[in-house]
Amino acid sequence: MSDALQSLPRFLPELILMAALAVVIVADLLTQRRPLQNSTDLLNGITLVGLVGALVTSWQALGAGEAQSLFASMLADDGLLGVFRPIFCLTSIVVLLLGMRSKELEGVRLGEMLALLLTVTAALMWMAGSVNLVMIYLSLETVSVASYLMVGYLSSDRLSNEASLKYILFGAVSTGAMLFGLSLLYGMTGTLDLYGVRAALAEGAFGPGLLFVLILIAAGIGFKIAAAPFHFWCPDVYTGAPTPVTAFLSVGPKAAGFAVLIRFFYLGLAEPAGGGAIAPVGGADWQMLLMMLAVITMTLGNVAALLQTNVKRLLAYSSIAHAGTMLMAACVLSVEGVQAIAAYLAIYLFMNLGAFAVVILAHRVTGSFEIDSYAGFWKRSPLLTVAMGIFLFSLMGIPPFAGFLAKWYVFAAVINAGLGWLAVIGVLNAAVAAFYYVKVLRVMVIDQEIGPTPALAFSRLDLALLVVLVVPNVLGLLFWGSLDRVTEVSQTLLELG
């Protein structure tokens, strides 16, 4: 019990989110009879305060104090959790603001949606902190259930329902496979604690049996990060979900999935080998497994994205491809790979949410998510076109923008680890990716629009949002400073335990 009490100060961001959740639920009940706009403003305000509170406390906690295990070794409050917490908070804040401007969510009571957003943000933090098999499963399942509900939030919309149902079915199968894998791992090692798993695996070789178990568990994690071949849900769910929810799914759960992946493989299935490197234990070659996943995911995501005509589907396949790029960094087997993933995610947050912000703002006037509907956008709104250009060039990894930095971190880590062939496949994929990103820009700038052109008007919130998302992408080099802080902190990851 005293252990739980001692853990509470290190648990502050999650506590703030849970408090905000309770307030939102009660406030939603109390304002049921009020006009919709008043009630929505109040609830948005409470949620924003909760998320900003969590962001501030998690930013302060970043790098402050020694790594420590919380709640009887359920969570590890170390550099990895420290880096991921602000990423989750920022994602949720941007998604909340996008939700206020989304046409799809206008006139809809948002109480439950905001409660779900707060819950899922806290659950992402639990995922990133888990060092116990039970905690990994439970936090992952909390994120999943909340995501299913967010995807199906527009229950009068047939596409939204269909997406939610598909998501549930795929989710049930992959978490089922993962749970079965975890139970077999528990049977092999006799412990639920990741450090205990590592110790038990170091003693005996389990070989191919362990590899099969790891494939089962990779199915659950791969589902969360949308890695092929566990990605089938992704395009349909991204298309059917309300766009702010799509934006959230493309960053939040993906980031948390990578945190779980790093913890599970780097802590539970490997031991420190000096100099920040790690060596797999238990006699299963999971590095090969991750490399195969990375190559399949990147290639499939990029090639399928070439064929898309719907911008949400395009961004779905592009997010699969980005997951593949980050998986490359996970094959590095050293702390350098972890740093590359953390840096990539921090930048990916701004570029991908930025692209979705443009999609949502454009949808307000065009009412469509087809790429063709963007024809002649340059004349309608140079501002939005330039913003989209910056986000897409950043996603491509073109030098002056932050996306280049992200790719550079990953490729440097991969080449330093002597995986030159993997880097070559990655570069080829980046070249393919340039095609479909440029295609969107070509439609916006060169193609002539057909039909009438409603004027584009931005609110102050839109402009603020665009500025917040554009600036980190443009000033990539100035961003370097805070990235150094991020990578410095993730050094502590492999020291705990």
Binding site: W126, L138, S139, T142, M188, P208, G209
Partner: protein
């Protein structure tokens, strides 16, 4: 002699669980399938007894057989035209499905045979509820609390979906 009888009961229950679970999947009548599920859940409770997990066995009967299944049956029975419903339970891609299922089964059998599970004799089974209770408010306090958050949003979500459908507006 005693172990013979014990083994006979075990395998009898195993056949019951597998058979009724299979019926749930392939059965064409929803009500019959629901009743077959009762038998499957009950058989699993017997397995828990075999493993000396008295609390789990009780919880299995109370929650799955008593709670969830009763609700399921009510849902089925209160739905109109349930008997006319033509259930389509998969007959597409039988061969690839059977092949992959057989492959996974063979793999699992092989793994279960080849891995040293470190099994040990648990001795005489004693009551487990006290130690479970202590663990839930001790070492496993955080998972216990997170489970309650999960249940809270699941409850909210269920209410949200049902209410929206009922009112017919968004």
């Amino acid at each position: 002699m005693e172990s013979m009888a014990s083994a006979a009961i075990f395998y009898g229950v195993a056949v019951l669980v597998l058979g009724s679970a299979l019926y749930v999947v392939v059965g064409k009548n929803l009500v019959h399938s629901a009743f077959a599920l009762v038998a499957a859940f009950f058989g699993v409770a017997v397995f828990y007894v075999y493993l000396g997990a008295d609390f789990l066995a009780g919880a299995q009967v109370l929650i799955y057989v008593g709670g969830i299944l009763t609700l399921l049956l009510f849902g089925v029975m209160l739905t109109n035209r349930i008997y006319n419903l033509n259930l389509r339970s998969g007959a597409i891609q039988v061969v690839p499905g059977a092949l992959s299922a057989g492959l996974v089964f063979a793999l699992l059998v092989w793994i279960i045979q080849s891995v040293d599970w470190g099994a040990m004799d648990a001795g005489d089974p004693g009551p487990t509820s006290e130690s479970i209770g202590r663990l839930l408010v001790g070492d496993y306090l955080l998972p216990f609390e997170i489970a309650s958050v999960l249940l809270l949003i699941a409850l909210m979500g269920a209410a949200m979906l049902v209410r929206r459908r009922g009112s017919g507006s968004s």
